[in-house]
Amino acid sequence: MQKEIAIAAHDLRMTYPGVRPVHALKGVSLDIHQGEMLLVMGPSGSGKSTLLSIIGGLLTPTGGSVTAAGTELTHLRRKELARFRLQNFGYVFQGFNLFNSMTGSENVELAFHVRGIQGRSARRAARDLLVHLGLEEHANRPARDLSGGEKQRVAIARALAGNPCAILADEPTSQLDAENGAIVTNIFTDLARSRGTTVVITSHDYRIRRAAERVVLLDDGRL
């Protein structure tokens, strides 16, 4: 069965300027299918985060193009790109990046607020997501008091708030213990299988490697 292409990257090149310019990507082409769980692996400094930033519309490459949801990202202006990210992508970070003074639930509600959903609707939707991820008990504790695994699940709930077509996760399990790493990995697998969400992960975690449908290896800016 040939699946639809969700994100198409063509001949991506990224050079970070500086006294000694860094060629982080040296021509990367990659098609990511809808509902696919793709794992990007590679040694430290090979350009994984750079690739994910470009695919996710956070960074404009110095060469090449990215097309997602039928839109050529490299042609969008800053503001349009921000709106595109808000409507199409969800992000999960290595360090969780939660608002520590807010509760888990408020962190997720915030993601609804910035999309124009307010008040009780936002509260209910946030609660549904958290319950779905098995967090009904801890949702009302401040984010800083949650365990790493709980934090990352709150972060995933936040990423899902906009009902994105793709989730981009940079080393989402590297700060988690084995058990929580497995829980998070299962959540991603389930997202791709049952929701049809495209999941792009960078990781060293072999557990994800086993769960991923496809693994690409990045080495020195090349696949």
Binding site: S49, L52, S53, L58, L59, K79, A82, R83, F84, R85, L86, Q87, F89, Y91, F93, Q94, G95, N97, F99, A111, V114, D170
Partner: protein, 378 residues
């Protein structure tokens, strides 16, 4: 959280500086027009050359009758103004102003004294002064005497809050006494001990105070007076106040200096608030960056900062207002009036909000220039 407290002290200091300047400005401009506020006259008639309350030229006393004859004038009373050379019982010298008015009249009453108090000015060579001026004149209690020019002068009663800070001491006397003190040939021939004679038509006065039959038509009546009485200018009470206030505020540069200090207060406020918000934003840069990465637009982020900044403005505003009232209490009775009006308080609130939000917007540059891809860097 001591850091927050220190920060708060900083903003409170800046906003207090601002509030005191505004209050000082209000107090100052209010003070310059005190004699006009002390009168219930609807219209002030004076020489066309008039610049401000004390800066005008004399009219003949006979103009009072002419003004009184204009239809629509209910009452007309004279107010005179002349230079006083004061010599205290201990030969201390001071320069002042004699304000002569009719103690039997109804249009001028410094400090709103009652009838019987006012009647004390009917005694020959009796005067009233503001409590703040007693020290300058070397006077300690009523009943003491000194000299104005070559004539005796007796301290009859004390007024409160009537002395403009910009003016030399005002001696409030009856018209007759004031006329006797006015340096002219007449006073030289006044027999010692005799009461000053009533005014004649040619004697100088400065203003004709007018009560209109219909106060709401004061402007029309003022125009009618200018038509019917030659060589005078008639100003409504509001115009008189505005002319005098504007003279002092614009022409003396005092307003400019106070505005400058107020601007300095505002500047200090911007720097302090900007510094605090910048530090706070820096500490939460990761969170702002996360919002940016998610795709939240700048307007939303500006809103978040504006809200924080407004909270700071409000938190600082009320202690500042309280402090200013405290400073007012301390400085009361020293000639400097710190006046906090609702309008002034509102102005300070608006400026405080503008300062904080402005500083917040400047500090926001840190966020708008941040690279959204930062979030994927550990």
């Amino acid at each position: 959280m001591p850091r927050f407290f220190v920060a708060l002290c900083g903003i409170v200091f800046a906003v207090t500086l601002l509030t005191v300047q505004v209050a000082l400005f209000t107090g100052f401009s209010n003070s310059t027009t005190l004699p006009i506020a002390e009168s219930t006259a609807d219209i002030w008639v004076t020489a066309p050359e008039m610049l401000y309350f004390e800066g005008t030229l004399p009219l003949p006393y006979s103009d009072v009758a002419k003004v009184r004859a204009v239809p629509g004038v209910q009452r007309a009373e004279a107010l005179s103004l002349s230079v006083a050379r004061w010599r205290s019982p201990h030969d201390l010298l001071a320069l002042g102003r004699v304000i002569g008015f009719d103690p039997n009249g109804t249009l001028f009453d410094p400090d709103g004294a009652d009838r019987s108090t006012l009647q004390r000015l009917r005694a020959p060579y009796a005067f009233a002064i503001d409590a703040t001026q007693m020290g300058i004149l070397d006077l300690h209690h009523t009943g003491q005497s000194g000299l104005i020019g070559a004539l005796p002068a007796r301290f009859a009663y004390v007024t409160h809050g009537t002395q403009p800070i910009v003016s030399a001491t005002f001696f409030y006397t009856s018209l007759e006494t004031a006329n006797a003190y006015t340096p002219s040939a007449l006073s030289f021939f006044a027999p010692p001990g005799a009461a000053p004679p009533p005014l004649e038509g040619s004697d100088p006065i400065m203003y004709v105070l007018v009560k209109a039959s219909d106060p709401s038509a004061s402007a029309q009546l003022a125009a009618a007076i200018e038509r019917r009485v030659p060589h005078v200018r008639a100003l409504t009470r509001d115009a008189m106040i505005a002319t005098t206030r504007d003279y002092w505020v614009k022409r003396t540069g005092i307003g400019f200096v106070l505005t400058l200090i107020a601007l300095m207060g505002a500047f200090v406020g911007v720097v302090i608030v900007g510094q605090i918000l910048y530090t706070s934003i820096n500490e939460h840069l990761q969170e702002y960056g996360t919002l940016k990465a998610i795709g939240v637009n700048d307007a939303y982020l500006y809103g978040v900062i504006a809200l924080q900044a407004s909270c700071m403005a409000l938190i600082a505003y009320f202690p500042s207002l309280a402090l200013t009232f405290g400073i007012r209490a301390i400085s009361a009775g020293r000639g400097v009036d710190i006046l906090i009006t609702p309008g002034g308080a509102l102005l300070v609130l608006v400026i405080a909000l503008a300062i904080c939000i402005g500083a917040g917007m400047a500090a926001m540059q840190r966020v708008t220039q941040a690279d959204p891809a930062l979030v994927f860097r550990a």
